[in-house]
């Protein structure tokens, strides 16, 4: 089974730097999945993406795109990849449509009008197609970067914070578009600091901190593993409750934190309080943000999954 992306023991030390920006990272992106690479500022996300696109040469380790080492046959791997860089590009000479035409040409596509127009309307840029980049707003520039990455219909899409500065409605549209691409078989590697979006969007995530992957897995699995369920029960009157999960009592409000795997019914039965005394139950599930914060604040390297 050939994977869209396999990274094995990737190490990157920049010139004039005394520490490794990426310290032996390994993970893979599977076919038609959205993989989120998450991590605090400076964790090494952009560096990893640069190694995939050959903008930066790995110090050690291998990066394979559809089974081919990017340092060996980059002409092949580059054709498979579309990339949206974190920094917006400001090319001054040409308008939006010209930029996309040149971009198509770089990928060997001479006539690509149809695709270009499709992308322009998909990314709400059609009416701005004759503007120069500097006449676009920040979010429009970002969308132009995305259109550029897609002119050649890449099988592996790398998105380095594609939604920074994009307004909420268009962000929503954009993520739907990414889902659409996934359903057509495109694999996506994305980085974002919007963890709520990552949770909704990503099939799997890898969490990286200080140049090392500290956790990789299915998004739901990670959330389940690293978060707790908070339960608040309001009783009709004060009751004696014996539970190892009880955290706090405020008047008739009882606050519990229970493990994810514990069935709720079992937990309530164990309280030994007649159910007719229960007025209200509120459950607050943990989310990716909680898991993320827990994972990146653990200092001792690898967190077992």
């Amino acid at each position: 089974m050939i994977l869209p992306l396999e990274i094995h023991n990737l190490v990157k030390r920049y010139k004039n730097s005394s520490v490794d920006a990426v310290k032996g990272v390994s993970f893979e992106v599977k076919g038609a999945e959205i993989f989120g690479l998450l991590g605090p500022n400076g964790a090494g996300k952009t560096t990893i993406i640069s190694a995939i696109t050959t903008l930066e040469k790995p110090t050690d380790g291998t990066v394979k795109v559809f089974g081919v080492d990017v340092t060996k046959d980059s002409m092949f791997t580059k054709k498979q990849i579309g990339v949206v860089h974190q920094e917006v590009i400001n090319s001054g000479f040409f308008d939006v449509e010209e930029i996309l035409e040149f971009q198509s040409g770089y990928y060997g596509l001479r006539k690509n009008k149809e695709r270009i127009h499709f992308l322009l309307s998909k990314l709400a840029l059609y009416e701005h197609r004759n503007k120069r980049v500097k006449q676009l707003s920040g979010g429009m520039k970002r969308r132009l970067m995305i259109a550029k990455a897609l002119v050649h219909n890449p099988k592996l899409l790398l998105l380095d914070e594609p939604t920074a500065g994009v307004d909420i409605r268009l962000r929503e549209d954009l993520w739907n578009f990414v889902r659409e691409l996934r359903s057509e078989g495109t694999s996506v590697l994305l980085t974002t600091h919007y963890l709520e979006e990552a949770e909704q969007l990503c099939d799997r995530v890898g969490i990286i901190n200080l140049g090392s992957v500290v956790c990789v897995g299915a998004t739901k699995e990670i959330v389940r593993q690293y978060t707790l369920r908070k339960v608040r029960i309001v009783f009709a009157e004060q009751v004696p409750v014996q539970s190892p999960y009880l955290m706090e009592v405020i008047g008739k409000d009882y606050f519990f934190v229970i493990p994810q795997e514990k069935p709720l019914g079992e937990f309530i039965n164990e309280l030994g309080v007649p159910t007719q005394l229960v007025r209200d139950i509120q459950i607050e599930e943990g989310d990716l943000e909680e898991a993320f914060l827990k994972i990146v604040s653990q200092k001792d390297g690898q967190v077992p999954l």
Partner: protein, 257 residues
């Protein structure tokens, strides 16, 4: 191949967008040079190998314009791409270093030759006004050969310098401290025959002398140096700077400033 053609087309489109700098400026500057040196000064100069000073000056100015513009075209294209960040696009896209080098240096040839042509036309106009006849090109094939080789060489020098440069100033420094002196001392304005033998020898170490005189042979049929030698030296220079451009792309930075 399409990648190469696209970069080439982009180079042409880019200099056409800044047409004032690329075409009007050389028009004005060659007009001024010809007016001041060719017409005013030329009347006090003896004719040299049977050609008037004005005629002598024209191929020199053509080559000077070509060299400057060829260098400018590739170097400023790369440097402005570094500045805006879209140079990274070329590294990320499936185009080879060779395609980039050829496309950019051919872009330089086109712009350089265009400028040389404008200079030729302006010069020819002066000739007609002063001497009642147009300037005929003595050996068109040689002229074209030296235009193309010089355009490629300086396109490739522009690429190499731009890839190593880390600021705009480094580019202007290269222009001002290396390119300009070498062109001025390469026999644009004077035949080296007028020089002291020692300076003649020094001049012969200046590679630009061969390009300028090669073109002068092509346009006028006269030259300070043997044309065969000039052609060989030009081709050696071309091979050298092609190699240098390849190294620059491999080792230089595509990263934005």
């Amino acid at each position: 191949m399409i990648g190469f053609l696209t970069i080439f087309r982009r180079e042409i489109a880019r200099f056409l967008k800044v047409i004032v700098q690329t075409v009007i400026t050389p028009f004005v500057s060659s007009f001024l040079y010809l007016l001041i040196f060719g017409v005013s000064l030329g009347q006090q100069m003896d004719s040299h190998q049977g050609v008037s000073y004005l005629a002598f000056l024209i191929p020199g100015l053509m080559m000077m314009g070509l060299i400057n513009n060829a260098f400018q075209n590739s170097s400023s294209s790369i440097v402005s791409s570094k500045f805006s960040g879209d140079l990274e696009d070329l590294r990320v896209a499936p185009v080879t270093d060779q395609e980039i080098i050829w496309a950019m240096s051919l872009g330089s040839v086109v712009r350089g030759t265009l400028v040389a042509l404008i200079t030729y036309l302006v010069g020819s106009l002066f000739m007609y006004y002063q001497q009642g006849e147009w300037l005929h090109i003595a050996h068109p094939v040689s002229a074209l050969f030296f235009l193309i080789v010089a355009g490629l060489i300086f396109g490739m020098i522009g690429i190499s310098v731009a890839f190593w440069a880390t600021t705009f100033d480094q580019l202007s420094a290269f222009s001002a401290f290396i390119l300009l002196p070498l062109t001025y001392l390469g026999g644009v304005f004077l035949s080296i025959e007028h020089l002291h033998p020692f300076w003649q020898m020094v001049s012969k170490l200046n590679p630009l002398l061969y390009l300028i005189n090669g073109l002068r042979y092509g346009v006028l049929g006269v030259s300070d140096v043997n044309v065969g030698t000039a052609a060989v030296i030009s081709l050696v220079g071309f091979a050298f700077f092609f190699g240098l451009a390849r190294i620059s792309l491999r080792k230089g930075s595509f990263q934005r400033w």
